[in-house]
Symmetry: C2
Subunit: 262 residues, 2 copies
C-alpha cells in the first residue's frame, strides 16, 4: 500500500481479509480494538477498513458497537459449491426422520473436523456442533470415524501430539486410541461416550467414496455421518447403528455417481 506501513510487504487486500479472519466461532463479535489486537493492524487502519467492510455489509455493527459478520457474507457463502452436502442432505433428513435424533455431516479439514450440515428438530439434545464449526477429531464420533480410515502416517502424526481433553471421558492415550480406531475399522463405525460433551453419546460412520479408483483399492473417506443422543438414552444407540450405516452407504453411492457424472 502506501505510507508509513508498520509492516511493509503486506497488501491492502490481505489486511482487509485479516480483519474478516479475525472472526471465528469463539470470536463472533469483536470491538474495533479487539480486531486491531487480533490482526496486528493499527487501530486507525482497522477503523477505516472495517468501516468500508461495513458499508458493503460484509460486516455489521451492533448497537453496542461490536462488529459481526454481515448477512451479505452469509449470502455469498451460500454460493460456495459443495456437491457432497447437496447429495448427502436428503439422506441426513431421512435418517433424522427415522430416528428423531440429531444428525450431522462432517469432513476432515487439517487436524479437525468441519461440520458441513446438520439436521435437528425441537427435541434434539443441545450439542456443540454447528454447521461451519470445527472440533478436534479424537473426542468426536465423526472425527474417529474419519481418523480410522486415514493412512497410517496421518494417524501416527495425529496421535504424536498432546491431545485436548474436553471431558474426563476423553481418550487421549495414543495406544488406547489406536486400538479403538482398529475396532472402528473392524465394525465400520465409531462411538463416543461423553468424550466431547458430558451428557451426550454418539455413533458415526464414514462415507467411503473418494480416492484412487484403482480397482481392488479401498475407497477413502470423504466425510462422516454422525448421530447424537443424550447419555440417558445410550441404550438406544445400538438400534441406530444399522440405519446410520445404511445412510452412509447411500451417500457414498450417490456421491460416487455424482462425481462420475461430472
Amino acid at each position: 500500500m502506501a505510507g508509513g506501513a508498520r509492516d511493509p510487504g503486506r497488501s491492502v487486500t490481505s489486511r482487509a481479509l485479516a480483519i474478516l479472519g479475525a472472526f471465528d466461532a469463539r470470536h463472533a463479535r469483536l470491538t474495533l480494538t479487539e480486531i486491531a489486537e487480533r490482526t496486528g493492524l493499527a487501530l486507525s487502519t482497522v477503523h477505516r477498513l472495517a468501516g468500508e467492510l461495513e458499508e458493503w455489509r460484509a460486516l455489521r455493527r451492533g448497537a453496542d458497537g461490536r462488529f459481526q459478520i454481515g448477512r451479505r457474507l452469509w449470502e455469498l457463502g451460500q454460493l460456495a459449491p459443495d456437491p457432497l452436502q447437496e447429495v448427502a442432505h436428503p439422506w441426513l433428513q431421512e435418517l433424522f426422520g427415522g430416528t428423531g435424533e440429531n444428525v450431522h455431516l462432517a469432513v476432515r479439514d487439517g487436524l479437525e473436523v468441519l461440520y458441513v450440515d446438520k439436521v435437528y428438530g425441537k427435541r434434539a439434545v443441545p450439542i456443540l456442533s454447528r454447521t461451519g464449526s470445527r472440533l478436534p477429531m479424537h473426542p468426536t464420533g465423526v472425527g474417529k470415524a474419519l481418523l480410522a480410515y486415514e493412512p497410517g502416517w496421518f494417524v501416527t502424526s495425529y496421535l504424536s501430539r498432546p491431545l485436548e481433553r474436553p471431558t474426563p471421558h476423553t481418550i487421549t492415550e495414543p495406544g488406547r486410541l489406536a486400538r479403538e480406531l482398529a475396532q472402528v475399522r473392524a465394525q465400520g463405525y465409531a462411538t463416543t461416550h461423553e468424550e466431547m460433551t458430558l451428557g451426550s453419546c454418539s455413533a458415526a460412520a464414514p462415507v467411503l467414496a473418494g480416492g484412487p479408483p484403482a480397482d481392488g483399492q479401498a475407497y477413502r473417506p470423504v466425510a462422516a455421518v454422525g448421530i447424537v443422543v443424550s447419555s440417558r438414552r445410550v441404550r438406544e444407540l445400538p438400534r441406530l447403528v444399522e440405519p446410520l450405516l445404511t445412510v452412509a452407504a447411500r451417500i457414498a453411492a450417490d456421491y460416487r455417481a455424482a462425481v462420475a457424472r461430472a
Copy 2:
C-alpha cells in the same frame, strides 16, 4: 490506491469486494475476464486481486480456470448471526416432519424475498428456492404473505412497476394483485398456483413479530413460512394450512420472547 487508476477515488478494498460481489446465484462460476467485465476493473487488476483472494481461500479456482466462492467464505458466512432462523428452524423441521413437504423461511430484502432456511427431504418437489437465493415477491407464496402485511405506500410502489412474469399463471395486474393481498390479510395466509414455477403450488403465512410495541398496534411481519407441493397434489394444500398457521404463530411467539430476552 496508487498508480494510474482508471477510476480514481475507488479504494482497493472496494475493488476486492467488487470482485466478490460479481458472484451471485446466476453467476456462481466466473472466468477472470467475466469478473473484469462485471466489475469494470482492468484485467490485470482482477488477476492480482483474485489471486490474493484465492490464496486466502475466499475464492477457489476450478480445474477449468473458473473462479467460485471458496469454503472459507462459507465458513465465515456461518458466523453471521440470525436469531430468527435459529428460533424458526426447529419449527420448520416440525412442519416438515408432520407433512413431508418442502418447507422454507424467507425475509423481505428490498423488493425481493431472501430465503434464509429450507427443510426438505428425498421426496421433495425440486423448487427454485435455495437458502441464500432471492426471488421477486408477487409470484411466490412467502412474497405475497410478506407483501400483504407491508404498509400501503410500500405495496403501492411495489405494484407501480412492470412486474416480472415467470409463468403464464403469474398475476401481474396491480388491481388483481391488490385484491389478492386483501384476501391474504383476511384469511391470514397466501397461496400460489404455478405463479413462479409450472408444476408447483404453495401456501405461506407471515411471522408477525416485529415492529412498534405500541399496545393495540398490530405486529409487523419479520418473515414468512412457506410450504410447497406439486401441482398434482394441490388438493392437499388446504389440509396443510392449519399446521402452517400454527407453526408461523409459534415462531412469532418464540421470536418475540427471544427479542424480549435480549
